[in-house]
Amino acid sequence: MSDPALTETGAATAPAPTGIRRRRSKRMKTLFPYLLVAPAVIYLLGITLYPGIYAVVQSFYAVKFGPWRPVGFENYANLMGDYQFWGALWNTFVIGSISLTIQCVLALTLAFYAYRDPWVQGWRIIFLIPMLFMPSAVAFIYKLAFLDARVFSDILIRLGLIDGNLSIQSSIWGSRALLILADVWQWTPFLFIIFVAALQGQDEEVEEAARLDGAKWGQIFWNISLPLMRPVIAVALILRGIDITTMFANVFIITKGGPAFGTETISYFIYRTGFKFFNFGYASAASVIMLILTIIIAQLVVKRAFRSGRA
């Protein structure tokens, strides 16, 4: 701001004389808004775009400790034949889709029963409590309760339901179930709140019209409320889906990808490749594939949900 007249004619001197106004050059006028948001944009690009490009570039090199050695598509080619990579993709898909389905159905069901309840309307914020826990703390609680301290086994033994300790960590599906349980516990409330808000936002007259038309509550929900919620459900699914696809903390803390790589998610695979075997180029290639997959899936969901959700 070299021009003093420019800086002084801020919003404070409201009825700015046109003479001073005219002095702000046309170019400055068009640039000004961009200048205002520039710091935030530069910062955001710095922490997302730069590492993103860095990873893409790196994925075409063999990067161990020494200098980078260009290898073309070798990393990608190797990934295609890496059964651990495919395994991790599969695990991510299995754990993610089951967890997402359960929490979505659970949250929708709860929302359906609760959204006209005045108590829920007043106190919905308390449903957010599980979300407020630090994810790693939740992970440790689950590790303690189900694996290390065997609280869960103990309870079942005392109830006389089983004879010995459950060995969850030696069962692939047991371990997957544990990851799913932890995720469902922590994130169902988030979806519940979103769905309740969406339902409460819907026109009550439309529901009343349906009632007079002879619809029962369940029919109103299936025929009207749910279809109208499509865009909201899509957004929630995408937010949660991206979160679940990149699931790391719980895997890292609770199962370490085991047993037999049965719970190794893509994030954990990338972490292991990069930070255990220091195969950075290879890990970058896996990240890039993951990124592309995520974007494609999100695009599909958004397009589908919003196109046919329109009135």
Partner: protein
């Protein structure tokens, strides 16, 4: 086809009165209009008939059967909401079919009934659109079609025309009346528009402050108002209400003197006279005032006379013209004069 009786109906939310005391007997096949200013309890009363709201006191009967505890779904009542309340995710066809689907009408009949209903309101070529792609009038007709399609016992319509422009409103008014006559379905119609009420109704129920002020045919309501509220609410411009005194059959108020009236009345009274029952007069004048306003409308001229404390509206001849503030005299048609108790506002007969 149903007769509806409301007896001693009250509705209260905490300390807020929605409806204080409503007693109406609606005949089978009748088109009854609830008319009153905003907030007088019209919608609340209608919602109680529909079963969307439970009365705090009183009984709702249809064909003699008490309906208080019958669910809205089972009352066989169809409602046209003020905001139409069409299902935004469905096409117009699906909207109209919805009540049939919910009531398990055989699939083979559904299509025919939907098309009949759509044809009745001239909506045939819009069936594939969604409500969002329709104009206000088209949505209104879609809502109407959805209401008529299953031939309910009772129609309820809550200010269905209030979102439309004047021309469309008149067209739809005629359509609704025609439809009601054709289908012979008992109909309750809510409006705050007196023209709508006068033109549509078999009988009008005038409400104010959660209470019924008068029930009667449009003619009765217009020419025989039960109190000053009704007199002042109906008519455009409404009835002139002049506060004054009666003594020996002579009504007097500042600048006003009417002789030869009912003998047995004395003390303070309010005289009511409709603008079309006032005439610009020569010798036999009742009012001697000055011209306050002259508003020609083409087919007539609204003349406002300043008479002491009161402004008197007169529907004068279409050729009437005058300067302002010049003296003018007005005569009342004595047969059309009504008297009201000044304190209670009730009609004195």
């Amino acid at each position: 086809m149903a007769r509806i009786e409301l007896s001693g109906i009250q509705k209260k939310w905490g300390a807020i009165w929605g409806v204080r005391d409503v007693n109406i007997d609606i005949a089978d096949e009748e088109l009854i209009v609830f008319l009153g200013p905003s907030g007088c309890g019209k919608t609340t009363t209608m919602r109680m008939i529909a079963g969307l709201e439970d009365p705090s006191e009183g009984e709702i009967r249809m064909d003699g059967e008490v309906m208080n505890d019958v669910d809205a779904r089972d009352r066989d009542v169809a409602m046209v909401f003020q905001g139409y309340a069409l299902y935004p995710n469905m096409t117009i066809y699906e909207n109209i079919r919805f009540p049939l689907r919910m009531r398990d009408v055989p699939k083979v009949d559904q299509d025919r009934l939907v098309r009949e209903a759509a044809a009745m309101v001239e909506l045939g070529d819009l069936l594939d659109r969604k409500p969002g792609a329709l104009s206000g009038g088209q949505r209104q007709r879609a809502a109407l079609a959805r209401a008529v399609v299953r031939k309910p016992q009772v129609f309820l319509m809550d200010e269905p025309l209030s979102n439309l422009d004047a021309k469309l409103r008149q067209a739809m008014r005629i359509q609704i009346k025609h439809l009601q006559r054709q289908l012979k379905i008992t109909t309750v119609y809510v409006t705050h528009d007196q023209i709508e009420a006068m033109t549509l109704a078999d009988r009008i129920v005038i409400m104010e402050g959660g209470l019924i002020q008068q029930i009667g045919t449009p003619d009765e309501i217009y020419s025989d108002p039960a109190n000053t509220f009704v007199a002042g609410f109906i008519g455009a411009p409404p009835m002139n209400l002049i506060e004054g005194r009666m003594e020996d059959g002579i009504f007097t108020a500042p600048s006003i003197r009417v002789e030869g009236l009912i003998r047995n009345l004395s003390g303070p009274v309010t005289l009511g006279i409709r603008p079309e029952d006032c005439h610009v007069a020569g010798a036999e004048a009742h009012v001697e005032g000055t011209v306050f306003g002259v508003e020609p409308t083409g087919d007539m001229t609204y003349l406002t006379i300043n008479a002491g404390d009161a402004l008197i509206e007169v529907k004068a001849d279409r050729d009437y013209r005058s300067d302002l503030d010049v003296p003018e005299t007005v005569a009342f048609d004595p047969a059309r004069i009504a008297f009201f108790d000044t304190t209670s506002g009730q009609r004195i007969r």
